[in-house]
């Protein structure tokens, strides 16, 4: 059953910016990766799902509820990490989490402590004094602490170090196991490839491809098998190039960069202009 549905969504900002005729859906218990370069329309689409923007045409719904008209009902069961988190800087992390819990009228959050521990975050500092990574962690805790069934995550790992990125990916995997429906945007192929079942690629406001992560991976990875002179050379080669050794033969796999994948779908044109929409 489709939990998140976007149908023929259009929002034209002029100058080729915006989203044009975007459609996709995310099923119950599925993780959907929303992939695209900066300014491709990921955040604009997410803003429609969040009920921040009214669709110029087309429709967005979550759990059968219209994302614009019934946004408060949609929000009851939703966790959101904004692409650019802006907190109340006057509060400490602890005060902020307490405020959000009271504001959302959620009772005791047994998940709060678990999440703080998982991301090694000490929330007692003033948010103003926190680093970008700490703020991101705080945003993650705020989005997950009320244990929502649906998660909309806009570039959730930005600012996190690789260790924390891995912890986040583990968290997503666990959530998925618990049947949560996840929409996660990213501009990094590796990130969505590791977490998502299906991937939608958006470019210049248009959905270029929606496919299973496995088949995208297959299509966009290239393998080379080389034969080396000795087993020891093969062993060393396999370690250096992260390959699979079989006797004297070593198979190495390369992933295409996001840009190359786009080139596949779009041909000629180079990287999109920067600038968030």
């Amino acid at each position: 059953m489709s939990i998140i549905k976007v149908e023929r969504l259009v929002r034209d900002y002029g100058g080729g910016k915006g989203v044009f005729d975007v459609s996709f859906h995310v099923d119950q218990g599925e993780a959907f990766g929303f992939l695209g370069p900066n300014g491709a329309g990921k955040t604009t689409t997410i803003r429609h799902l969040m009920g921040f923007l009214k669709p110029a045409s087309g429709e967005c719904s979550i759990n059968g509820l219209d994302c614009w008209r019934e946004r408060d009902k949609v929000q009851a069961n939703l966790g959101y990490i904004p692409g650019e988190i802006s907190f109340f800087e006057d509060l400490s992390g602890t005060e902020f989490l307490k405020f959000i819990a009271e504001y959302r009228k959620i009772g005791i959050q047994n998940r709060r402590e678990e999440l703080l521990e998982r991301f090694e975050l000490d929330p007692r500092n003033k948010i103003k004094k926190m680093s970008k990574g700490m703020k991101q962690k705080l945003g993650i805790v705020a989005a997950f602490m009320h244990d929502p069934d649906i998660l909309i995550l806009d570039e959730p790992t930005s600012g996190l170090d690789p260790l924390m990125q891995n912890r986040f990916i583990d968290l997503i995997a666990e959530e998925k196991k618990h049947g949560k429906t996840i929409l996660m945007s990213s501009h990094m192929f590796e990130e969505v490839e590791r977490t998502c079942d299906r991937i939608g690629i958006i470019r210049k406001g248009r959905m270029v491809a929606v496919d299973a992560a496995a088949s995208l991976r297959e299509r966009h990875t290239r393998s080379y098998t080389v034969t080396l002179e000795s087993e020891s050379a093969a062993e060393a080669f396999a370690i250096d190039f992260n390959g699979m050794r079989k006797g004297l033969k070593v198979t190495v796999t390369t992933k295409q960069s996001l840009e190359e994948i786009f080139m596949n779908y779009y041909g000629g044109e180079k990287h999109d202009e920067h600038g968030a929409v």
């Binding site: 803003r47 969040m50 009920g51 921040f52 923007l53 009214k54 946004r71 408060d72 009902k73 929000q75 009851a76 939703l78 959101y80 904004p82 650019e84 988190i85 802006s86 907190f87 109340f88 006057d90 405020f99 959000i100 009271e102 504001y103 959302r104 009228k105 705020a142």
Partner: protein, 266 residues
């Protein structure tokens, strides 16, 4: 309709400004009421005679007979207009537009709380602040007058007068609030929210000078607050205050509706 967690947070955010403005009002009100003294009155009247335009522009006129008339002349033309107005401008902008501009409105809208509830709560915070300031001024005026000149103050008239003042500031607050709801950029929200009341006040100052400039009074809502008329018990003055109140209710409602329907680029 009200989210208590948000209301509490924002009232805390109002405290600092309320304390500062209350302190300034305390200073002026106590000094000016203390100056109600026939001897000093002569000095002030002397000023009015020496530079009638300047004194009139801030609402100060000669020959204020009663204590309340004296207060109207020296408090209700400047001090009690400007400071609550500044409160409206600063808080009005901060309650909605600043959050939208900075992006932290996303924290409030990404929750099972209706936008109408968010806007209504913020409106209540602004109105509560105005109420507290006017209430405090009333009590302060009462205490200063009773301690300095027992029995001289007509309390019913004072309450009527400050009722009118409250209507005026609720209206000013509604302009700031509407502007805050309408614009997603603090540049414009402050521009209109502060610009309109200040422009209107300048027109009022012009109108007070008299002469040809008096026609300016038809272009400013400050004319609808008519302190002399209120203490004289004129029904027209009461109607004017009610017009301000009705205008305020309309603008607050409009602000809430606009915020409910607008696109938020958070």
């Amino acid at each position: 309709m009200t989210n208590m967690a948000l209301y509490k947070r924002e009232m805390k955010g109002s405290i600092k400004l309320l304390v500062i403005f209350s302190a300034v009002i305390t200073l002026y009100v106590s000094i000016i009421i203390g100056m109600y003294d026939p001897e000093l009155m002569k000095t002030l009247d002397g000023f009015v005679e020496a530079m009638p335009e300047l004194m009139a522009s801030v609402g100060m006129k000669a020959d204020a007979a009663t204590l309340l008339g004296f207060m109207v002349s020296y408090l209700y033309g400047f001090i009690l207009l400007i400071f609550p107005m500044l409160f409206c401008i600063l808080r009005g902008n901060a309650l909605i537009a600043k959050y939208v501009d900075k992006g932290s409105m996303a924290l409030l809208t990404a929750a099972p709380v209706k936008r109408r509830t968010i806007a209504f709560t913020q409106m209540k915070v602004l109105v509560s602040g105005i109420l507290l300031l006017i209430l405090y001024s009333t009590i302060l005026e009462f205490i200063c007058a009773e301690s300095g000149f027992p029995g001289e103050l007509d309390i019913t008239s004072l309450i009527m007068l400050n009722g009118g003042l409250l209507c005026l500031h609720l209206f000013i607050g509604s302009i700031c609030f509407l502007s805050s709801c309408l614009f997603s950029d603090t540049k414009y929200s402050i521009g209109f929210g502060a610009g309109i009341p200040i422009l209107m006040y300048v027109l009022q100052m012009l109108a007070n000078v008299g002469g040809d400039a008096e026609t300016a009074k038809y272009f400013t809502f400050f004319t609808l607050f008519h302190p002399d008329g209120i203490i004289a018990g004129e029904s027209q003055a009461a109607v004017s205050s009610l017009i301000l109140l009705a205008g305020a209710i309309i603008l607050y409602a409009l602000g809430i509706i606009i915020f409910d329907r607008k696109d938020l680029h958070l």
